[in-house]
Symmetry: C2
DNA sequence: TATTTATATAAGGATTTAAGAATATATTTA
DNA sequence: TAAATATATTCTTAAATCCTTATATAAATA
């Protein structure tokens, strides 16, 4: 429900290499060397991207002797979307981040100006028609 | 179902300013000047981010005289998640992007090596126990 | 303990991106 | 047509990001 958590998760998926890794892990669990070999990418590149996905809680790691197997936390993905939808549905007033925004909206400075302009325009048109 | 389309949409949401704009538009439709005023951001900044969201088909624009009102295409969001889930479920073999990957996996060079190592290790342990 | 294998982290360079300033375009009105 | 208003686009700079190379860490084995 936290904005930062949301955009960071989307940012994590919103990158071609990481989406490719996510797609691989959707097929099953793989260790770093397998991903590196199958995707034909250098190992540090895989590790770094996996770290980003892990930091967002989207993948899990599982050490087996030398190898660290990574797998998708599918529940985390569903939670992500659910939280995002809930975030969009949440009343602005209850979100601390929008405190100042809500104040500005209550003043309706901008809306007021627009409305005034529109009213003025309509009045002008009407008075024009009366001539 | 296209990987590029997917990661670009997530990338669009995966940025704090744009997520904030999306959240605003989830409350209703706003023109650029309203967003600019309420979010206390310079107008070009709003326009630029709206363009990115629009390019991904996540928001719609609607001109009314001077003003361009933007609104959320909620259906596009649902479609995005649906397509993402479908992408994850799709067989690797049917995705052109993974053609080479599938070939490498079929060779099982990496798996083979790992398996061999594990088998060797197990054999060593077994032979050790027999001593 | 030294070596091997797999993975993680750090440093560097190249590219991309976001933000602000300046300018251009579009629509309406005088 | 000129001026006013709202929006879009361009340009520049600073920061972030990605990839590679090099190095460090962790686990297993000789």
């Amino acid at each position: 429900m936290d904005k930062k958590k949301l955009y960071r998760a989307f940012k994590a998926i919103g990158e071609p290499t990481r989406l490719k890794i996510v797609k691989m892990l959707a097929q099953g669990s793989f260790c770093v060397c397998e991903l590196s070999e199958y995707l034909d990418m250098l190992q540090p590149r895989i590790s770094q991207h996996l770290k980003i996905l892990k930091d967002e809680g989207l993948v899990r790691e599982n050490r087996e002797s030398y190898w660290v197997y990574y797998s998708l936390d599918k529940e985390a993905f569903h939670r992500l979307w659910h939280d995002f939808m809930a975030y969009l549905d949440t009343d602005l007033k209850t979100l601390g981040e929008f405190e100042e925004v809500v104040k500005r909206m209550e003043n309706k400075v901008c809306n007021q100006r627009i409305r005034d302009t529109k009213i003025k325009k309509m009045q002008n048109k009407l008075s024009g028609e009366q001539n």
